[in-house]
Structures are given as structure tokens and as C-alpha cells.
Symmetry: C2
Subunit: 370 residues, 2 copies
């Protein structure tokens, strides 16, 4: 149930500022315009000092009276108006919901159905995020959510007019489903843990949760359920900001590495919000090729690396944010040499609870990749 | 944290029975064997009286001394032994975890790595489920989980030695993540609702949850998050057994229809547990082609049906469990005629909360497809 309208918030004011500036451009007989940081590849770089992918300083001007930009400009302003109304109503929409609202409002007033395909509206939302220096979550747009958490963490969920306290140590085998926005409607009340363990696969998360791993270790146990959604990445960033070490436990293959590096340095696609979602402090627990030497049984648990794995390992050796670490260079070269991969599930081979010991030992011995 | 070993359960005894019968075959100098209902297509049929897809009565014998079956027989018994040990330890494994346990135990004792590919172990688990007349969930094998619920429903989650009460009306914007097994470790304490609404997409579930739809309507709001997982299908069946009407709200396209019919009649792949997971009582709320006549604005919200949608509509007209309903024949013929599809998200066009009114009206007017 929608709460009473909140006092005008920061993003609402940003959107009003954009609208007012365009109005005064029109009144002054000027070409309405706004400027935003460029998101093309040439303006995306790895910030070595900060440790994440971010945008550079190149700006571009979006204006109405410009043959190439006119349609896009108009669409962006229409999105801004919709988001402003979502905030005023204190209601959230998905990108798909926004798309249909635009289709409904503009579909009859303009000659063509400008929003026939959702792929057209997504870059416009990004334009707006960058122009206003905000995130879509602040504009009441829900991103896809995915990811589950268990541990000694309590939050208040401002759900309509209710303040619901959620205790992630009392969620049993389900865990707490991480919402798409962990900034605006969630308050962190109490976080009592020594570290955060991020586990790529839900099946392994369930295994560790059943063993009460997070309770014995006083850890916060998260699974992104594969590639981490925006909400999960943002949550990991926030937990790191609270001073908790972040350990990531993934497959030793193309997908596992990719998920790790996305959490750590962010991604090209989301470089425009890199600072908010990247966690350069994260460490890679495994599984690694070096584990084959440490745990003898793993030698019979390997799989043949696929073409995708090999290609990915080669590509990764060219990324400066990876090849600056000799440990990663050694790991990837070993993959290319023996052409094997290793899944995190394989640690259940000798006994189901072996994976608990593996993680504990790795953390105790600080045996991880940077 | 694993609980104290429970008193020997029914499935544990079934597995021991299988083992004992094979042992006595061997002692008696007989060819060890077990029989199971055949799962090939020729033995899958639609039970018109019960309303779901099920296996017929054809049986097949699996035996050890048979050139074509020997390897598979041995593997199945190895799986039975592993599952027995999981139950004894009161621990759960995923199929992938089981696969690695088998790889570990058998990989050195036998000439070849018989479990190199997981696809080999899955049909063997099904053999076992059918032979014992049980489900993998009862053998402590976790299936993939997916799906979220909110509503006036309380359960006890037997999590290790704890009994955790979960109140699905106090889960805020996250909802309760539906576990993979809703039979063995979950007790339903209290279910106070007038009906169950199943919503295909998580984004729409979030929309309705934000509006407090389930609270205003006293409904249980579920999203399978796309195709329904075993646990979610089983939960819907259980809620129907409690006497609650089940309404399904999906896209009006190939995928939306498929998700509906899988919930209602079960599927070919899971016909062997059809009785436990199909909900023939389910009704399809929409969106439908007939909605185009009732809600004028929807005419500008349609998409062009894809080849997949058209093919699916044609196929569905040939299924006896569908073409027995004139309402569905009319719906599908209309799709083939106008070659359009309609997404559930489109109901947010005029205003974000329109979807709430749509569902309420549909239920009030009993305006659904069978």
C-alpha cells in the first residue's frame, strides 16, 4: 500500500530542475538542451587508484533542435516526466511498466509509436541517470532483482506505511530476498558479522546455509544466484563500506571469473554508476587451479575447459585491471596450459560439508586471489 | 546446522528395502533387479477425469545382468546409496552435488568415469523416484528453487534444530522465497486467505505487492518468476488442497500460456509426479485477446505475435487437454487470426495501479479461461 506522499526528495527536485531549465530555454527562445557525461567506450576507463571502471570527463550536449537528437531528446524528457510522477505517487515501476506508460501517453499524440521496443527506452533512462547524476532506483524504477542473504543483519523495510523489521538470521532455509533498491526504502539497523561470503550458486548457498555456516562463522552469506543484479552489487558495496571484508567463492571458469570481476571492478555497461556498485576490496577465494595441488582429490573432479573458458582466460590476460596482479596472470596461464576448469560444487565430492572446511581454511590462511 | 538424526523416515526405509531386495537376489543367485513405471512418451497420457498428465501402467524391469542395462543399474544403486546417506546425515544435496559425490566415490573404483556428465545422472534419479514411488525431495535432493510469496500465511521452517516461524505477511517488499521442498521441512501453521493469485513476472508481483494487493484482497500473492519450479508448483497444489481457488495471471503469449498449462496439467517431463504438482483447478485470468474488446486502450498496447507464439498457438489447438475447452479454442484462434500478443505489463499503461483493478474485476465477474 502506497504511503502518504513523502516530503519532496532530492531526485524529485533534480527532475524538476531539468524541467525548469528546459522551460526557461524555451521562454528565452533558446534551443532546449541538457548535458550529460558520455557513455561511449572511449570515455570508459579503469581508475587504477580507485580500482573500478568509471566514466571519464567527456560530456555531450543533448538538444531538441537537432535533426539527429530531436526524437531522443523528446523521449528522454517524457521519461523524466513519468519518473517524476512515480516519485510523486510514491509508486515504483519496472522498465517494462515505464515503457507501457510511455506507449500509452505518447502513442496517440505522436505520429509514430516511438517506444515500440523496450531497447529504445533503456539508453534514454541511462541518459537521464547520467545527466542528473543519480540512479534509476532513485527515480522509482525497479531493476530486476536476484540474490539471497542470510546472517546477523537486521533491516527496516519501509513497506508502504509500515516499518517492517527483517532479521536475516531468522529466515530459515529461504533467506532474505535482496530487493532491487537497497538505498531508498531499506534502513540497516544492525549488522553484526566478521565478513561477507558471496557464493556464486544458489545450490552452494543452500548447502552452506543448511550447515549454519554463517552462524558458526558469524558471516553474512550472500548468493547473487549467478551474475549479480544491481541491487546485490550495491548491497555488497554498502557492506564493504561498513568495514566488512568481502570474499567471493565462485566456479573456476569463464562465468565464475566474470561474476567476480563484475563485483570487484564493475562492468563496462554500468561504468556510469561504477563508484556505487563496484567493490575493489573483494577477494577471490576460489576455486582455483592452485587448489588442484592443495587438495589431491580435486584432480579427478576437473572438467575440460570449453572454448568459452579458454577465450575468456585469454581476454582477461589483456585487461589491465586483471593483469596488474601476478597471481591472476599465473592462474589464467595455468588454465591455458592444462585446459581444465573446476566447479565450486566439486568440493562436495568427499563429503557434503567439505566445502565449509575449504572456505574456513582459505580465509584463515588468507589464501585468496586479489 | 544439521539437526540430530531424525527417526528413520519412510523414504529411508524405501531405499533400504531396495537395497535388501537386491542383496537377497544376489544371495539367492538371482539376477538383481527392480521394476519401475516406464516414463517414455508412449506411457504418458492426459487423465481427463483427474485433469493432469500422468504415467500409464506400463512397467519396465531394470536388471544388472543385462548388457544394455548393467551400467545404468549399477549407477542407480550408487545413487540410492548416496541418497540414503544424505537422509541418514540429515543433509541435503543438489543434483550437481550428488554428481560430484558419485564422481568421487566411483571415479577410482571403476574403469571409466561413468558420471562425467550430469545429464547422465538425472534420468537415473527419475528411475529411482518412480521405482520407489517417491520424489527426489524426499531423498534430500534439492531441486532448483525459484518463486516468491506474500500473504496471510504462516509456516514453521524446521531449520536445523530450530523451528523458525515465517509470517509471509511480514516480509515487506522482498516476500518469502519459496524453498525447493515444501513438504518435508515446512509446516503450514495458518493460512488465512480467500484465494491465490499467481503472477508470471516478478516485476508485476512487485507492483501488486507495493500496492498491498494481497492485503486488501486477502489473497496469497505468488510469482513463479517465469516457469514454475517444482517447489512452487507443489506449493500451489498444496494451497489448492486447502480449498483455495487458484488464479493465474500471465502474458497472453506462448510463454505465458505454457507457464499456465504447466501449473494446471503438469508437463510431459514431470508426468511421473503429475498428481503431486498439477493443479487442474487453476483458472487463467488473462491477459487474453478478449480483453482487447473490454479495455479499449489495450488495442494500442499489443505486440506482433512472433513465430514462436504462432507455432505454440497452433500446437496447443492439438492438445486434447486444451482443445476440450471451447474458450481456449476461441482464444487461440483469435491469436492466429489477428497475429497479436499482449503482455501483462501493458495493463500499467493508463496508470500503475490499473492492474490491481483489472484483476479484481476479473475475479469479481468470474471472467477467466478454464
Amino acid at each position: 500500500m502506497p504511503a502518504e506522499k513523502k516530503p519532496s526528495n532530492k531526485t524529485e527536485k533534480l527532475l524538476e530542475g531539468l524541467g525548469n531549465s528546459i522551460l526557461s530555454d524555451i521562454k528565452d527562445g533558446k534551443n532546449p538542451s541538457f548535458s550529460a557525461t558520455t557513455r561511449t567506450k572511449s570515455n570508459i576507463f579503469y581508475d587504477k587508484k580507485e580500482g573500478f571502471l568509471r566514466l571519464g570527463s567527456a560530456m555531450e550536449e543533448h538538444s531538441f533542435i537537432n535533426l539527429a537528437q530531436s526524437k531522443r531528446f523528446m523521449q528522454t524528457i517524457a521519461i523524466a516526466a513519468k519518473c517524476h510522477s512515480f516519485i510523486s505517487q510514491n509508486l515504483h515501476a519496472s522498465i517494462r511498466g515505464l515503457f507501457y506508460q510511455l506507449k500509452f501517453s505518447l502513442g496517440e499524440d505522436v505520429d509514430e509509436n516511438i517506444f515500440d521496443e523496450q531497447s529504445e527506452s533503456n539508453p534514454l533512462i541511462e541518459d537521464l541517470e547520467v545527466a542528473l547524476g543519480t540512479k534509476r532506483e532513485n527515480m522509482n524504477l525497479n531493476a530486476n532483482r536476484k540474490g539471497v542473504l542470510a546472517g546477523n543483519l537486521r533491516i527496516i523495510d519501509n513497506y508502504g506505511n509500515e516499518k517492517i523489521e527483517i532479521d536475516a538470521s531468522k529466515m530459515g532455509r529461504s533467506g532474505w530476498a535482496i530487493p532491487s533498491d537497497v538505498d531508498n526504502d531499506i534502513e540497516f539497523v544492525d549488522v553484526k558479522a566478521k565478513y561477507v561470503l558471496v557464493v556464486e550458486k544458489d545450490a552452494l548457498w543452500q548447502r552452506l546455509n543448511e550447515d549454519g555456516f554463517w552462524k558458526k562463522e558469524n558471516a553474512i552469506l550472500i548468493t547473487p544466484q549467478g551474475q549479480a543484479a544491481r541491487g546485490t552489487r550495491r548491497l555488497i558495496r554498502k557492506l564493504a563500506d561498513m568495514g566488512l571484508p568481502i570474499y567471493v567463492f565462485n566456479d573456476g571458469d569463464a562465468w565464475g571469473w566474470y561474476i567476480y570481476w563484475t563485483i570487484k571492478t564493475g562492468s563496462i555497461n554500468l561504468a556510469y554508476i561504477g563508484k556505487d556498485i563496484a567493490t575493489p576490496e573483494a577477494k577471490f577465494i576460489g576455486v582455483t587451479m592452485a587448489d588442484l595441488e592443495k587438495y589431491d582429490f580435486l584432480k579427478s573432479m576437473t572438467m575440460t575447459a570449453t572454448e568459452v573458458d579458454i577465450k575468456r582466460a585469454q581476454d582477461m590476460l589483456n585487461y589491465q585491471w586483471i593483469n596488474q596482479y601476478p597471481e591472476w596472470v599465473a592462474e589464467l596461464k595455468q588454465v591455458l596450459k592444462i585446459k581444465k576448469k573446476l566447479e565450486q560444487d566439486s568440493l562436495q565430492g568427499p563429503r557434503l560439508t567439505f566445502v565449509d572446511d575449504y572456505i574456513r581454511d582459505k580465509i584463515k590462511n588468507k589464501d585468496f586471489l586479489p
